[in-house]
Structure formats: C-alpha cells, structure tokens
Symmetry: C2
C-alpha cells in the first residue's frame, strides 16, 4: 500500500517537473512568430500521460550520486532529455493527425493542431518542435559527450530507421496482412524505438556502464512491446471519450493489431508477461529501479 502511494507521489512530482521544464524550454508565445509559438505550446503542453519524460527521470535514478556538481549536470541533462523527447513525441502526433496521414480531429480530448489552427501551421509546428528538441539537447548545461550521445540516440530512434520509418511501414501495411513478426518490427520502430530512447537518455545522463545500458534496453524493449499491445487492447475495448482520441480506428482501417492477430485474451496475458520480463531485467539495480518497475505496471494497467 505504501509503495503504491509513494509511486503516485513520484509520478505527480516528476510530471510537474516535466511540465515546468517544458514551460521553461519552449519559446514563449510572445516570441515572433507569435502564432507558431502559441501552436507549438498547444501541441506540446496539451496534457498527455508524459510517459516518456517519466521514463527519462526514472532511468536517471539508476546511477549513483558522485558530488553536487555532477548531480546538477545530471539534472540539467535529464530535464533537457525529458523536454526533447516530449517535443519529438508531440511533433509525431501533430504530423500523424494531419489529413494526409490519420486525419484525426481529436487528440488528448481537444481539437488536433490542424483543427485548432490550420494544416500549414500544424506542418510547421511539427517541423519546429523536432528542431527544438535537438537544440535543447545541444545547449543543455552538461558534459559535451553526454549531449552528443543523447542527440545521436534521439536521432536514431526518431528518424527513418526508427519512428518515422515505422510510420512509413505502417502506411504500407494498410489492407495488407502483416504477420506477427512484421507487426512487431513495425511497432518496434514506430513506438518502441522512442520509448527505449527515453530510458536510454536517462541512462546516458546518469552515466550508466555499457552493461547497465544493456539491462535497461531489455526493460525498455519489453515495455515498448507491452505498451503497443495495451494500446491495441484499449483501441478494441474502450470508447473515444475515455481514450481522448478516436477509438476503433485500426479495425475500421482494416489494420492488423495484436488483438486481431492474437485474440483479446492472449493479448492481455502477453502484456502482463512483458511487464514481468521488464521488471526482472532490472534486478541488479535494486531499489533504485522502483520507479521504472512501477512505470511498467502503470503502462500495462492504464485505462487510456
């Protein structure tokens, strides 16, 4: 009981930390061009679960404290990473929602950016949020090699061999019968790569060893897969109001999902197994991994 309560406190504290870092590191609406900056804030600050920033902060706790100066640099690196990855996530949502992609009117319970503003602005919002992500990492107040390692990891996870590539495969898969391996590869790129990157950024900021980074990767790959399985379960079972976005779209578009390929029962069991694999991979970190373990539970048990 007390663990659950502490984790809830941790989530609230670190969500607030992420919101505050976003507010500090995004350009003000008072900066020219006003409307573009207003729309960028609308896209990035419109709520959401902040799973990726929370993963950054949770992975950042796996390292050891050396001295005050090092802690300060680590915290600067973590804030930059949390905002950068959320900017990348937000840009991908804004572009995915455009008419030429998923053509969605609703996101996080509010009109999508191209509905609240216009299509051309939404295009530029996504473009500029991506740029800002790399700018924030390049200018973070921490060691040069840590900044470069974070930029390199974020670019690899979000570019044509990661998130954007997964999107391209997803587009090609509509109406086709992807098998389970094909579906896994697509999701590993489309959503898994960025989720893995979140924990990797935290690990880089915390100065983890290569062996520790590998353990973290086992965690995040299992988590990424669990995340998508649960997404498909929710898309098949929840309503649009609960989700804050249009439900049942995959089925309507005749897209393959874990639920259509595995069945609902098996998909739910699979999500649980993946969460256990993720937690087990963190054994060596002991109590420092409590937040990451609880985040895996949160991902699997979420209702939206």
């Amino acid at each position: 009981m007390s663990t659950v309560f502490q984790f809830q406190d941790w989530v609230i504290a670190h969500s607030q930390r992420a919101e505050s870092a976003l507010d500090r590191l995004l350009d003000s609406e008072k900066t020219i061009p006003h409307r573009l900056h207003e729309a960028m804030r609308y896209a990035a600050q419109g709520g959401g679960k902040r799973i990726r920033p929370l993963l950054v902060y949770a992975a950042g706790q796996l390292g050891n404290s050396i001295n005050e100066q090092a802690d300060q640099e680590k915290n600067a690196a973590l804030d930059a990473a949390a905002v950068a990855i959320e900017c990348i996530h937000a840009y991908s949502l804004v572009h995915d929602d455009l008419p030429c992609m998923d053509d969605d009117d609703l996101r996080r319970g509010r009109p999508t950016v191209h509905k609240a503003f216009d299509e051309a602005t939404a295009l530029l919002v996504g473009d500029a949020l991506q740029t800002r992500a790399f700018e924030i990492l390049a200018n973070a107040k921490c060691d040069a090699n840590i900044r470069l390692a974070m930029i390199s990891a974020l670019a690899a996870a979000s570019g044509s061999r990661g998130m954007a590539g997964g999107q391209a495969i997803d587009l090609e898969s509509v109406g086709k019968k992807l098998d389970l391996d094909g579906l896994k590869q697509m999701h590993a790129m489309k959503t898994g790569a960025l989720l893995s990157c979140a924990t990797a950024l935290g690990g880089i900021a915390a100065g983890l060893s290569p062996a520790q980074m590998t353990q973290l990767l086992v965690y995040s790959e299992a988590l990424g897969l669990a995340f998508q399985v649960v997404d498909d379960v929710l898309d098949a079972t929840a309503d649009s109001q609960t989700l804050g976005k249009t439900a049942g779209k995959d089925a309507a578009a005749n897209k393959p999902t874990y639920v259509t390929l595995m069945g609902l029962d098996y998909a739910q069991k699979q999500a649980k197994t993946l969460q256990e694999t993720a937690s087990a991979s963190l054994k060596e970190f002991g109590s420092k991994s409590a937040a990451l373990k609880d985040l895996a539970l949160l991902v699997v048990n979420r209702a939206k």
Copy 2:
C-alpha cells in the same frame, strides 16, 4: 579570365564533393523501409545548385592549416555540415511543396516528392531528412565542441526563430501589405538564416575566431538578402522551364516581393550593391576568401 576559370573548377570539384558526401551519408535504398529511403534520396539528390554546401566549403577555406590530423577533422566536419544543411534545405522544399503549403507540382524540373510518391510519404521524407541532418552532425568524426556548435547553429537557423518561423510569417503575409522592413525580416528568417548558417558552419569547422565569425556574418547577411532579391527578380522575369519551378507564383498569390516594393530596376541594382558589401566584408581574409567572393557573384548573376 583565369580567375573565372579556376572558380568554375572549384565549383565543379566541390559540387562533386557534396554529391559524394550526400551519397555516403544518406541511408541506402536497400535499408528498410526501402520506399522511404528511396524518396529521401529523390528529395536530396535531385540536383539543385548546392549553394549551401558550396558556402560551407568556401567558408571552410578561411581558416589556417595546422597539421594533417586537424585538416582531416576539418574535412570531416565540412562534409557533415554540407550534407546536414542540404538535408535541412531539402526537407524544407519537400514540406513547402505540399498541398497545404505552396501546392507545387514541379521542383528542380522534376515532379515534387508528393507527386512522385504520395503526400504521407513526402511528410515523412521531410521529417526524416531533418532528423538525419542532426544525426550526421552528432556523429561527425571531429571535436565534440565543434559538433555541438554546428548542431546548435543549424537548429537556431532552421527552427521557429529561423527558417520555419519565416515560413509561418510568410503564410500570414499572403494578401497583406508587408512593408519593406517586414519583407526583409520575413526573408531574413525564411531563407537568410539558413544561408548564413552555411557559412557559419564552415567557419566553425575551420576554427575561426569570434571576430572572424562576425566578418563572415556581414558577408552572409548581405548574401542572403541578395539571394532573395534575385529570386524575386527571376520570379518576375524568367519562365518556369528556365527556373525548373513554377514562375510568377508570388505575383499570382498577391505576395509582396522586392520587385513589387522596389521596382525591377532598383531591385537589380540593390542585388549588385549587396554583392559588393558581401565581398568587402572579407577583405582581411585575402586570397583565402576568393571562393566566397565568387559565390556572391554567382548568386547575383544566376539565371535560375
């Protein structure tokens, strides 16, 4: 006579160097997803004047040679910068050509990416080319602080306070009567920032002093303005076949241009004056600035 000839050789050699670096640093079409990588190459390797890479290389010649190791690192930095800035330029063209922006069918004499492929692919091509630009700089085989300075400069020039911001202002200006100062600010962000960035990246790679970087900035700001004035002159006087893109679009869209605000004669004289200002700013660099000076002439005298 011999100077002109040497410059032509220099342009050919360095255009080829840029093409070869692009070919080496872009993902192969054999990499999954094949179609996305094919479209990224179509967008980035479809010709064009390669003005930005040439500016990178020309500014890179302003520094002094120290030793072989330093020269090797400088060349790696210059190749990375040349490709990165061309990826950013190419991404901006692909997104600008989309139906929700300029809705153009023709670019560099070929179908635009969304015509040759499809809109969703064009969106992802632009997104992934931007990501690749930062990834290439982060992984360049040169000093960490040089890489970070280049990433920071490229992000500032291309994001919401640079190129993307200029686009947003341009969108808002359709049908409005921008005055000359408003037009200058819009172009300084929309095209000037990235042109200035090209010479700045070359200067960073070459290890120029802050005072030298300032002289370079005077050059590139004059060049950027000249470039746009000439663009407007060509849009008003040349035909689509010569330009390789749709001519007369600005007039048709009732957009303000230097020609409509200054008149054709004055705009042509202004371009010449700006070229002279650009060249004069490089006096202290002596013969090392020959390529930059000739590039300014090339920009002002181009026919497309």
